[in-house]
């Protein structure tokens, strides 16, 4: 029965971060991309909580996490609205097809 330590959390968060990036880069569906963003944010949250828990930094980490969660929600809302708007105009949510603006 091995006790769960800081390292495990960090590994998890790093994995989450990478998966998030992966999703952002590879997914064609805008919604999926946004989910990738959420993953990144949450990996950061895990970091905060883990650090404050194991580093005896008080509760600041947890507080920060709360802030971030709220923000993430707001961000998601706005992003989805924008994606919706895109769908209205282009009737697609494929980020690859949204490339009229370029050199």
């Amino acid at each position: 029965m091995v006790s769960v330590g800081l390292t495990h959390f960090l590994v998890i968060s790093t994995l989450l971060f990478s998966m998030g990036l992966y999703a952002i880069i590879t997914r064609k569906n805008a919604v999926m991309v946004l989910m990738g963003v959420e993953l990144i944010l949450n990996s950061a949250n895990i970091n905060f909580i883990a650090f404050s828990r194991f580093g005896n930094f008080g509760y600041s980490g947890q507080l920060i996490a709360l802030f971030v969660i709220v923000l993430a929600a707001a961000e998601a809302a706005i992003a989805l609205a924008i994606v919706l708007n895109i769908y209205k105009n282009l009737s697609t949510v494929n980020v690859d097809e949204v490339d009229n603006l370029k050199d």
Partner: protein, 497 residues
């Protein structure tokens, strides 16, 4: 620790918030009389400006939860940038009044102005916040409002695309930044810049995680000030977004970004100041080379890409990237002198860039195009606008006797004083390059005598006054720049350093 006692330090923010609420309510109640919204916001802005002016000179920590451990620091630097932000907001609101894009969506003006004010609030907190989390939060507030504004004209494809790119790109970079913050938090156990500084001073060894976290945070800032390699969103979004917003992004949010960058660097890494105003920074991170590298690449890329553009808006986007490069060079000097140069540059850049965008907008309102080829012969059909645009472009190039020259002059003075001759030469050659694309506009306007489709624009008094308000400083500061420099010199001090 009594928060209420510090509230007077954030009166400007409070006033803006109040204005926001008023605007929203007014919009809800008097749906019909949208024409009053800009007036309200202008009133709010002026009130805030008044308070900011009063605040200038006060250097106090706000909301300390222990000594030297404050969320906000109200100091001259932040106040200066608040001033910049307010002035540019003032102009942008004026622009919005005669922007056809904004007019096109009738019943959503309330939304527009409230979001604009939201951006202001975000920037206000950004420029004065002394805590990474507060930085993150205010930056998000700024970004979220601007995402929406970038896509304000819902049925315009350009707008929607711009906003989508902006939101994805922005949220990713802020996410990266947040992750960087978390790492830094893990390493130091705090998010307060001053505390991080004290801990770093005590630190014995620094491992790569630290460097990584700094770069990740830099990604966030770089996104705001749009320097290479975090600039990619800039041309697309600038081209796509409504011109008013483009102008606003290119000046105000850039200013905020620079303010926080300067504060971050100085507050976190400060270890002492030497004779001649040069900072001695902690050696864990080689800021100078990083910044110099980034800024040189930025200005070069900006200028050279601008050469290829046919869309004036996009060209100005690249030119603003190039200017960000110049400004960053001022930061890279890492001295009070450099910061002075940056502040001067911003004050002047604000006027000339806003001015250029305004003229482009007025012309676009009429001919419905921002393509340089459509500017042929405009100098003759609309002489006044033509000549004013010429002045702004010349100023952007940096030729005397316009203010743009003074901005560049101080930048180079700082560089030469820091013995960064080679960098200065590169920057100067960049200036020469930049001449091509600016002069190209003038060439189309004047040298090509094409009277096939004469354009006639009758200026409303308001827009005329706005133009004068922008062009007069550009010419005045060109020949008499003492006040602006004096002011900038006063504004470089950062709380507690």
């Amino acid at each position: 620790m009594n928060f209420t006692s510090d509230l007077f330090l954030i009166y400007p923010e409070i006033v803006l918030t109040a204005t926001l609420i008023v605007v929203v309510l007014f919009d809800l109640i008097f749906k019909r009389s949208q024409a009053w919204l800009p007036v309200l916001s202008l009133a709010g802005i002026l009130a805030a400006f008044f308070l900011v002016v009063l605040q200038f000179g006060t250097n106090l920590p706000a909301f300390e939860y222990s000594t030297k451990n404050n969320l906000l620091s109200i100091d001259n630097l932040s106040t200066y940038f608040k001033g910049i932000i307010l002035i540019s907001s003032f102009f942008v609101v004026l622009f919005s009044i005669f922007s056809s894009e904004v007019k096109s969506c009738k019943d959503r003006h309330g939304e527009y102005y409230s979001l604009l004010i939201g951006m202001m609030i975000g920037m206000f907190f950004l420029v004065s916040s002394n805590d990474l989390i507060l930085i993150y939060l205010s930056m998000e507030l700024l970004s979220l409002s601007s995402y929406v504004l970038a896509g304000f004209v819902k049925n315009s494809i350009r707008n929607s695309e711009a906003s989508l790119k902006y939101v994805i790109y922005g949220s990713v970079s802020s996410g990266i930044m947040l992750f960087g913050i978390s790492l830094l938090y893990g390493l130091t156990g705090t998010t307060n810049l001053n505390e991080i500084n004290t801990i770093l001073r005590g630190a014995s060894t620094i491992d790569i995680t630290f460097i990584l976290s700094i770069f990740m945070i830099l990604a966030g800032f770089g996104f705001k000030i749009s320097v290479v390699p975090f600039h990619f969103w800039t041309p697309d979004v600038y081209e796509g977004a409504p011109i008013t917003i483009t102008a606003y992004l290119s000046v105000a949010s850039k200013a905020a970004g620079f303010a926080v960058l300067i504060r971050f660097i100085k507050a976190v890494f400060f270890s002492g100041i030497s004779q001649g105003g040069y900072w001695n920074l902690l050696t864990y991170f080689d800021w100078q080379s990083v910044l110099v590298l980034i800024s040189i690449v930025t200005m070069t890329l900006g200028n050279f890409s601008a050469l290829w553009q046919d869309n004036l808006k996009r060209m100005l986007a690249y030119s603003s990237i190039a200017h960000a490069g110049y400004i960053l060079l001022g930061v890279a000097v890492l001295s009070d002198q450099g910061i002075t140069a940056v502040l001067i540059y911003f004050a002047i850049y604000m006027f000339m860039n806003l001015g250029a965008f305004l003229i482009v907008m007025l012309i676009a309102n009429k001919i419905g195009s921002e393509n340089i080829d459509d500017y042929k012969g405009l100098g003759y059909s609309i002489p006044f606008l033509g000549s004013v645009l010429a002045i702004f472009l010349v100023s952007l190039t940096g030729l005397p006797p316009t203010a743009g020259f003074i901005a560049k002059l101080y930048l180079f003075i700082a560089l030469v004083d820091a013995k960064m001759i080679v960098v200065a030469i590169i920057a100067l050659l960049n200036t020469v390059v930049s001449l091509y694309y600016y002069i190209r506009v003038l060439k189309n306007m004047y040298l090509v005598r094409d009277f096939s489709k004469p354009v006639h624009i009758e200026l409303k008094p308001l827009s005329f006054i706005t133009i004068l308000l922008l062009v007069i400083p550009v010419l005045l500061f060109g020949v008499y720049f003492t006040p602006i420099v004096d002011f900038a010199k006063l504004s470089i001090q950062i709380l507690g350093l």
